[in-house]
Amino acid sequence: MLYRENGQFKTSYAADQQILPIVQDRWFMAALLVFAFVVMPFIGSDYLFLSLVIPFLILAIAAIGLNILVGYCGQISLGTAAFMAVGAYAAYNLVIRVPQLNFLIVLVLAGLIAGLVGVLFGIPSLRIKGLYLAVATLAAQFFVDWMFARVKWFTNYSASGSVSPPPIEIFGWTVDTPVHKYLFVLGVAVVMTLMAKNLVRGHIGRGWMAIRDMDVAAEVIGIRPLKSKLSAFAVSSFYAGVAGALWGFIRLGAWEPLAFNVNLSLNLLFMIIIGGMGSLLGSYFGAAFIVILPLLLNQAPAWFGLPISTALASHLEAMIFGALIIFFLIVEPHGLARLWAIGKEKLRLWPFPH
């Protein structure tokens, strides 16, 4: 009743091709953005911003990047955290060595450097596929870990190998309070998501999807696998690089290579599997599931006044979290984004399903 598209006619190509063709969706998105940009800064607490929303948004950007590679282009990667690390250390070195650069430029350059490294490690994808490729990208993970731990230049010869960047400043605006950090990350996330949406619905994205569905057939209809695969690696690593820079500068404030270890790569892969492969919305759902749910589970016993020990609470957290992952994968193997789509389908017919 509320969510019907009857009477919404598309009278031009532009109207037919817009990102959100249904008017209710547009209203919903507008309301969501107004809520996120205008209302949230006033009602959120520091904890909400720093520990839940900011990590959620940053990892959602990284998940979008991985989703472009895995979900849209069909190339499995276990090295996302490595590309995040490249982005983080690139941004750190740019800020330390070229202090007059604007942080926005630093962010873009960090993404581009990560993109280059991504292309380099994407070259094997031209020859190998599937699980073999996953193993090859795992090499990126270990190589990058090793490089940032051993090559002192990248950490500016820090005695402990841990780096700590100066505060972010953009046109005189110092991003230091939780609200400022939140707004900055949110802005980046919105721009990056819009970019990704336009990429995947254009000819580049169609090329990726053709490669994903069957690369031989794609080649036959004139899509060059070299270009498509490497561009997917480049774009994916660009996203990971930007997310890595944000993770280091805004979320952690000081980090060591361990912050970008293989666990983070696996977590990102879980995010897109649970959220939904080949869906940008799914990247957000997955990030929310992996980032926020464990923290809620960890704190839930205290809210209900259950006097259980810290150790038991974290064991329970791990157990319930694992069980939920299995539950969602069984109920809906296509991810939370698919559940969302089903929900929308139902809503169109509600309250008179046929």
């Binding site: 009602i43 520091d46 330390i96 005695a159 700590s164 759902f285 150790a311 974290s314």
Partner: protein, 460 residues
């Protein structure tokens, strides 16, 4: 039927998720506001790890810390101000540690925070000045944070890793009949590949240059259960000494590998985090002869332990098992809590007997003066030497002894060593100056503060 049921279930789940996502910010926001500590209490956040690869070492520390807080409360609080505390599990992971910190810092009257992880310390060092919450890192943390001018909020009380490495070199020098005899010797550092393990490298390199010994750096990746490659290197190169900078399961694994490689345990020296019961008991008799630093205290019970047993454990309030009381890491946790309590007590002298903010407690920590009489009164006189901090020295003490595992218990085999300030001080100066420049901060001036504080002290 089943298809219908399935779609219905999935539809419900979808609706549930949607509802959950929409209400999530609201509920967690409400929760944050809904958990205040009772008015008039000083709040101690307790970052612990009772699970994961480092749990065997993290748990006794946490138990000692919490037991001491309970003891102070049982004795009526800090001059009558009770302590509220809450544990948060970090699992030794930096991002979870930061989350715990953000969760607990919102409470009123947070005194100070002790992360018990060098990685978390680095991340929180970045946040402490904005939040105005002091960071106590008793026996760990950044070595250069001793410099109070550059790190006003960090307190590496009782000594840093540079002190530890320095003392170990002094000790092996003494075994050889003088530091100059170390020329041409080989020393291997087997270290946890994290900020914690890398922290001593700078000092050891400095000392290696000075005395002409060879330094072999052998990293072990987290969590340290796989060390075959590291010990193969040791077997090939046969270093004269091995310094072990491990934590958690890495230490016992290293000792096992030493047994397997046939490396003499009495040539192995652990830092004070690698010289506790959980590190050697899994290897037990085979670890006999292994030596480690003692951060002033070793194992064994002092008067304060008797108090804990009487006022906490006998009342059924004990946090951990009773026979853990007096073990090395338990005592370290206990002393860590004690130092924080004394910081609050010192700050109360200036700001009055009431719950204090982190900023006020910072003053107390910077002006700690635990003399022999005070230690006696606290019941810890056998555990540590007098300790006094000031604006320029946030560690307060830099001495340690060597202890040896005889197969069943730890015992001291050396007298106190003092870390050599002539080597460490300039390193701290350079390193902290670089930190300040990199972070675009400004150094505060201790000279000004000391002269400003002098009249106030005279009045007291």
């Amino acid at each position: 039927m089943s298809k219908l049921l399935k779609t219905r279930v999935t539809g419900m789940v979808a609706a549930g998720i949607a509802a959950g996502l929409l209400t999530l910010p609201a509920t967690s926001f409400a929760q944050q506001k809904a958990a205040p500590a009772a008015k008039g209490e000083q709040f101690f956040p307790v970052l612990v790890y009772r699970t994961g690869a480092y749990a065997p070492n993290g748990t006794p520390w946490a138990n000692g810390y919490v037991d001491y807080v309970k003891l102070v409360n049982a004795q009526g609080g800090i001059n009558g101000v009770r302590i509220a505390y809450e544990e948060c599990e970090t699992g030794y992971a930096t991002d979870r540690g930061v989350e715990c910190y953000e969760r607990l810092k919102t409470r009123p009257f947070v005194a100070a925070v002790q992360p018990l992880s060098t990685g978390i310390t680095f991340a929180l060092t970045d946040k402490a000045p904005t939040d105005k919450i002091p960071l106590i890192t008793a026996g760990y943390g950044r070595a250069d944070s001793v410099e109070g001018e550059a790190f006003p909020w960090n307190f590496p009380l009782m000594g840093t890793y540079w002190d530890a490495a320095d003392i170990l070199v002094q000790h092996v020098g003494k075994l050889n009949g003088g530091l100059d005899k170390l020329k041409g010797k080989k020393i291997a550092l087997v270290y946890h590949d994290s900020p914690y393990g890398k922290e001593p490298i700078a000092l050891l390199q400095e000392r290696a240059k000075l005395h002409g010994f060879d330094l072999m750096l052998i990293p072990v990746t987290h969590p340290g259960v796989e060390q075959k490659a590291a010990w193969l290197q040791i077997r090939q190169n046969r270093p004269d000494y091995v310094f072990l900078w491990g934590w958690g399961v890495m230490n016992s694994t290293a000792l096992r590998e030493a047994v397997a490689t046939g490396y003499p345990r009495d040539k192995m020296f652990g830092v004070w985090w690698a010289a506790a019961e959980p590190d050697v008991t899994p290897v037990a008799a085979d670890a006999k002869g292994y030596q480690g630093l003692a951060l002033q205290h070793g194992a064994g019970r002092a008067k304060v332990h008797e108090d804990v047993l009487k006022l906490v454990h006998d009342k059924g309030q004990g946090t951990g098992p009773r026979d853990e009381v007096g073990s090395v890491l338990y005592t370290r946790g206990l002393l860590s809590a004690m130092l924080q309590v004394e910081g609050v007590r010192q700050a109360q002298l200036r700001y009055g007997v009431q719950p204090l903010t982190g900023e006020q407690v910072r003053y107390g920590l910077e002006n700690l003066n635990l003399d022999a009489k005070r230690l006696e009164a606290l019941g810890v006189s056998t555990l540590m030497k007098p300790l006094a901090t000031n604006c320029r020295d946030h560690a307060g003490a830099r001495s340690a002894r060597i202890q040896q595992w005889d197969g069943t218990k730890w015992g001291f085999v050396s007298d106190y060593y003092e870390a050599d300030n002539q080597i460490i001080k300039p390193m701290i100066k350079t390193s902290s100056a670089r930190y300040v420049a990199e972070k675009k901060l400004t150094m505060r001036s201790c000279a000004d503060e000391i002269s400003a504080a002098a009249p106030a002290a005279a009045k007291k």
